[in-house]
Amino acid sequence: MPVMLGSGQAWSKGGGGVTDLLGREPVALLWGLAGVLATLTLGALAALLLPRLKPGKDYRNLQQRVWSWWVMATLLAGALLTGWLAMTALFALVSFLALKEFLSLAPMSREDRPLILVAYLTIPLNYAIVLTNWYGMYLVFVPVYVFAAVPFLMACIGQTRGYLARSSVFHFGVVTCVYALGYIPLLMRVPQADAPQAGPAGLVFMLLFATEANDVLQYVCGKLLGRRKIMPKVSPNKTWEGFLGGWILTAGLIVLAAPHLTPLRGAGLWMVAILLPLAGFAGDVTMSAVKRDIGVKDTSQFIPGHGGVLDRLDSLIFTAPLYFHLVAYFALETY
């Protein structure tokens, strides 16, 4: 665990070949990735051994779920170690898959098809701003300019049937699936000097790890202790015990791990520890409300055992922008 390492400028000293490649990576990040690898190995062992130890149940979903975690973790770890360009490409693709899922579920009509294409066009534009590392423009491009341009285009093609509802649906989709997720590769552009502990990859790793850990810990605490329903109208399976247990455990995890992976200290560290799990919960519940409105349980079956891309990303959509701005405000010189 990264907890065991001293903070400050810690880099691993590698030999040749693969160790040389990894040798350029910060020690804390490698420890973090090793922790993920260990967790996934435990998951794979459980998926392999449980059917033998406790036969009779259907373990197909568990096995698919674990296998999908391996694929997702490999893609993300690969991008983290390769650098910001790979991360930008990966999240441009993820944004596309997520937005496609959202637009496929939202109420649309044949005359909306040109607007759907415009919505997809925001992906290369948004991520091109990440490539140029133009922070000020990134902040306003989708929320201000796309927000103004789409309703105007709709007016230009004379589409006024359900005008307000339709333009809102487009904006909701682009902000959640493109703008919010783009913060992750944008975080990879933080200068090394601003985050000497583990570089920009350490910042991103902390965000991804804390968000997914919060998802899993809320679920596990809910399964083990859950009694009182927290939002029966939106997510009947969520409980106060799951929410609070996940909150406390994830906050603890952040307080212990973040000093090794990020420049967060003191008030900033505590703010992230307290607010990130809350944002994850909020994202989860918000997407559940969207799914309830549309009348589906999962947003698609794209990720075997998990459901859709949006089902997996719901909490990250809320944690990514919040984490970026908290880290930028409290701990980064550049922003």
Partner: protein, 213 residues
């Protein structure tokens, strides 16, 4: 041409279908693994053919042949080459129906060779929000001639949004393919057509809601 075709469909068509349409398949275990077999599907878009070709495992793919309108798919040399060698169509001469011409002959020939023939009994593409169109009876006559061939119903949801009839620009949106249990020939053409319609209606009801109006 069989091996390059399967390679192209597996390495190019399948990833495109997966990225651009999600291509969620449920009930895939009902798909026939070898011919002769008949697959009946609803029809909204050319994307239907792409989805049907990308849902089969590679070992079955070499036998899969969609029945398609000769007047449309054999128009022009390039289109004709692509239709025959890549899509692998069984041509149906729609315009010669009722002129003492056996329009089903190529499909019968393909089934005799052990093909999995895909038929769109609606005869043409409908709108994404449409109900099932009037089903033409050719598929029942094929089933009568090959009484042991399973008739597998398939409902494709959402393809009419990606590329509707009359549009040249595909818009990426998710599609679902639902495969139902095979129907058997019981000696009655009308009875089989009714069963097909009911099976398609059932699959349609299971599909995720399409908010397309």
């Amino acid at each position: 041409m069989s091996f390059p075709r399967v390679l192209f469909l597996t390495l190019v068509a399948k990833p495109i279908a997966r990225i651009m349409t999600g291509a969620d398949v449920s009930g895939g275990e009902h798909l026939p693994e070898q011919g002769p077999a008949i697959v009946v599907a609803n029809h909204q878009s050319h994307v239907d053919t792409l989805l049907l070709l990308s849902m089969f495992p590679a070992r079955a793919l070499k036998d899969v042949r969609p029945a398609a309108a000769a007047d449309y798919f054999l128009k022009g040399r390039l289109m004709s080459w692509f239709s025959r060698n890549v899509i692998g169509i069984v041509p149906v001469e729609r315009k010669k129906i009722g002129r003492h011409f056996d329009v089903l002959a190529p499909a019968r020939e393909a089934l005799a060779e052990g093909a999995i023939v895909v038929v769109f009994p609606e005869g043409t593409r409908g709108e994404a929000s449409d109900d099932i169109g009037r089903l033409k009876g050719g598929v029942a006559r094929l089933a009568e001639d090959f009484p042991d061939a399973p008739v597998v119903p398939v409902w494709i949801a959402g393809a009419g949004r990606v590329l509707p009839k009359g549009s040249g620009v595909p818009v990426p949106l998710n599609c679902c393919v639902l495969v139902g249990p095979a129907l058997k020939w019981r000696g009655d053409r009308h009875g089989l057509m009714d069963e097909i319609r009911q099976a398609l209606e059932r699959l349609k009801a299971e599909a995720p809601p399409l908010r397309w109006n």
